[in-house]
Symmetry: C2
Subunit: 491 residues, 2 copies
């Protein structure tokens, strides 16, 4: 079979682009930086959404929907927020088109200029806190635990499908609390939800930690993050949870009467994951043959391909296959019996391999005679002939095995790609030759962090939660340090 | 208890506004015409989405996602489309803000002007057909059966929560077919899906029909519609399905090689329902006490309110209540046990009545002694004491009864509000005095239809499918007619 993908060793970045296109996940659109998420890609995103939405609801959250547009003046109400966010964004200035005077198409109606420009939301803290002001009078109105599933726009100059696009889909949780302690607990709870989702569903191990001031969300007091490692040794920030203190409550003057009858500003968090997770999913596990999907998020978990010469053979195979489909569907699995007569089995094998279907079954006439079925695993690319009798139970446990194996493989890769270094020279060498997470001492200053970034393109991904304390000296300045932090080049 | 809502007889329109706000469904935002959908309202929308999404998938559709923005030039590619759609819309002209020279806030960076303006999608036919061009070469690539859940923006001057807002949420299906017949079947299939959803879930009877040329979607060959009747005698268009012919394929030059090896343009449909359905749901059933929700879409289907004086009593009631909650949840129902100690039972009764919870149970100490429970129906406002033993089964059948009863009530109302008239004088009289659907003969011309609209504010809602054929004369012009059409004043 002809290779459809550039290999990872040839060009990891081209391999990624090829894979996203060939596996029908997404493509670029006519609008610069905006992607089309194709049905197969969207089906994965829908599975992610369903799991996350359940996890949010199980932790007491509800969904709501807030406006797409933000009045321009809102963005400058929180000083740090405007610095970090407001600049590269889509600005709506007019609300009407008119027929062009030359009769060719339409032009913007200059009469229909908005008094105040509207910004397409890059994130919704401002419009939401402006709304919460009307919802909160007393501690009895708290907490508010809202999430929204939405599209957001950040005008990126260099875009890559899923990883960095002008428009992307995400969820953004925005919570309001009566006390600092409660808001901090919430921010941590949601970080744990994201970490659990990444590890148990995406099968991607993550480091949980806190961002340095340089890497903090604009307007946050603390930003917590989960950081994943991709196969090329670069880090991918996969989800963030922010403790916002009273910053947005102060900016939008949201106060409440507490249990002692005193007026105080409300405490806030926000947290989000986006279609960027698709990028993490794709890059963490896939190989030169195509996608490798964790069974828990695969749109098709099991595919059955009939091998036949005559329609009689197909009919007989179909009876067995459809019975198995019914059994697996009844157990809640997504199974496809591909009896498309226009495609050959070889084509189908390659197609489902490219699309990362975890388990592929092939059933031919000899299998019917012998009561067997050929079972192929996508993760290991191994095949085995199994007894048809009881195959549904074996598939269920095989899917579990695959989920576990993919995770373990990623975990082993991360362990092998994490290096402790004690000198700046060694640091640069590891970054260039091996990549991955580099654990090093740092003096805690923004200046040193910035210098390292300028010189090596590596950033501090996070200071891990419950980080091991260890006396040392900053690899750059020699100043004392009490712990190593996680450096990496990142997406 | 103080009335929280204006009564319907006093002002139907004020009643609606009051209800949307007081039942915590939605509110206006700081952005003109854009609403905030509050958690309780959004929970209803989520239930609608889940049902519809299942129905779409069961009819072979998949979800995808297309860009929020449409290049301005795309809108003028289909001539009728631009006339009907492109004018009142949000126009993005710039992609960056900068600090204001006077140091106060941010201003639009004049350097960051887009070469071509982007329109926030008012509907996505153009961007989607531009995308489909790349997906379709041969009949083997057809049909394409995509749906997207998205936000859209139409700059409305006069807005009303859910019924007409600048930004709203909807789904839009866009399908591509090899033959005219297949596309027409698809348009009809989706109309039937919408009608089934309206009648079986919203509990709102609808007339299915075809729109006249005047009322057709801009760019469609035929527009099919479901039309519902509200309690004030006005019609609400609740969903539309369009047969688009080859209009968009021609505008975007989307051709394919058919089975005979010849090149042809692709056939298209599109279909959508929106958060407007929330308006239909609210207006069709609710009363002066608040919402009346059909059980199949109620976020809380059953609420249990404990009546107690001491904590010991509450503890005993809780044991019984929680057992019942578990039983009903296991059957898939959404049940809430409201043991909030800060609110009195009377307050809770009023609150759940306002919010339209279909079944309310009250359990007090005497009920525990007698093995009983008080069961209140929201739709009839009746109460009954029932045996606690086997109550879960009775609640299940009660919820079915309520769903059926609400639908039957709406159906009876519609029957009583549908009038056949044979003169224009009678027509105007019925419209002014009774409202509702008015069935009359019409000469089939756009001119007469427009005149009627100008003079009476009534439009032809549709020509019903399988309409009874009957010789008659147009009530306005006296020209011959073969059937009555459905007129009404509409939202
Ligand atoms: Zn304040
Ligand atoms: Zn053409």
């Amino acid at each position: 079979m002809a290779k459809v993908l550039t290999s990872r060793s040839e060009s990891y970045s081209q391999w990624y682009n090829d894979l996203v296109l060939k596996a029908d996940l997404a493509e670029n659109s006519a609008v610069r930086g905006c992607m089309v998420i194709k049905p197969y890609g969207y089906a994965i995103w829908e599975k992610m959404q369903a799991v996350l939405d359940r996890m949010f609801k199980d932790t007491g959250h509800v969904n709501a929907y807030f406006p797409l547009f933000i009045p321009k003046s809102f963005l400058s109400k929180e000083a740090d927020h405007v610095e970090g966010f407001a600049k590269e964004c889509a600005v709506v200035t007019h609300y009407r088109l008119m027929n062009s005077p030359d009769g060719k198409g339409v032009v913007v109606d200059p009469q229909a200029k908005l008094e105040e420009e509207l910004i397409v939301r890059p994130t919704s803290e401002t419009i939401i806190w402006n709304t919460y002001k009307g919802w909160i009078q007393s501690y009895r109105d708290l907490p508010i635990l809202c999430n929204q599933w939405a599209n957001v726009v950040r005008w990126e100059m260099r875009t890559r499908l899923f990883l960095r696009t002008a428009e992307f889909l995400w969820q953004e949780g925005h919570t309001a609390h009566a006390t600092q302690a409660e808001a901090m607990t919430e921010a941590m709870t949601m970080l744990k939800v994201y970490a659990k989702f990444a590890e148990e569903y995406l099968a991607v191990p993550v480091v949980q930690g806190v961002k340095t001031a340089n890497e903090r969300f604009a307007g946050a007091v603390e930003t917590y993050t989960i950081e994943a490692l991709m196969q090329d040794g670069k880090a991918l920030q996969s989800g963030t949870s922010h403790f916002l203190g009273q910053n947005f409550a102060k900016a939008f003057d949201v106060t409440f009467t507490n249990q002692e009858g005193k007026i105080d500003h409300v405490w806030a968090t926000s947290w989000g994951v986006s279609t960027r997770l698709m990028g993490a999913l794709i890059m963490a596990h896939s190989d030169d043959n195509g996608l490798v999907l964790p069974p828990k998020l695969a749109p098709i978990q099991v595919v059955i391909v009939p091998i036949y010469k005559s329609m009689e053979e197909l009919d007989k195979i179909s009876v067995v296959a459809k019975e198995l489909v019914a059994k697996l569907k009844a157990k809640g699995y997504d199974v496809k019996f591909d009896d498309n007569d226009k495609k050959k089995p070889g084509w189908k094998f390659a197609e489902y391999e490219l699309k990362g279907v975890p388990v592929r079954l092939a059933i031919g006439p000899r299998d019917l005679e012998n009561g067997t079925v050929e079972v192929a695993r996508r993760d290991t690319l191994t095949k085995e002939v199994m007894q048809l009798d009881g195959i549904d139970e074996r598939i269920v446990s095989l899917l579990d095995d695959i989920q576990t194996n993919i995770y373990q493989k990623a975990l082993d890769f991360r362990a092998a790609s994490t290096t402790k270094v004690d000198s700046y020279e060694e640091f640069q060498k590891v970054l260039d030759e091996k990549g991955g997470f580099v654990l090093a001492h740092w003096d805690g200053t923004s200046e040193t962090e910035q210098r390292i970034k300028d010189e090596t393109k590596a950033t501090i991904r996070c200071i891990p939660l419950d980080n091991e304390q260890e006396a040392g000296v900053c690899m750059v300045t020699g100043q004392p340090s009490t712990q190593r932090v996680v450096f990496a080049r990142a997406y």
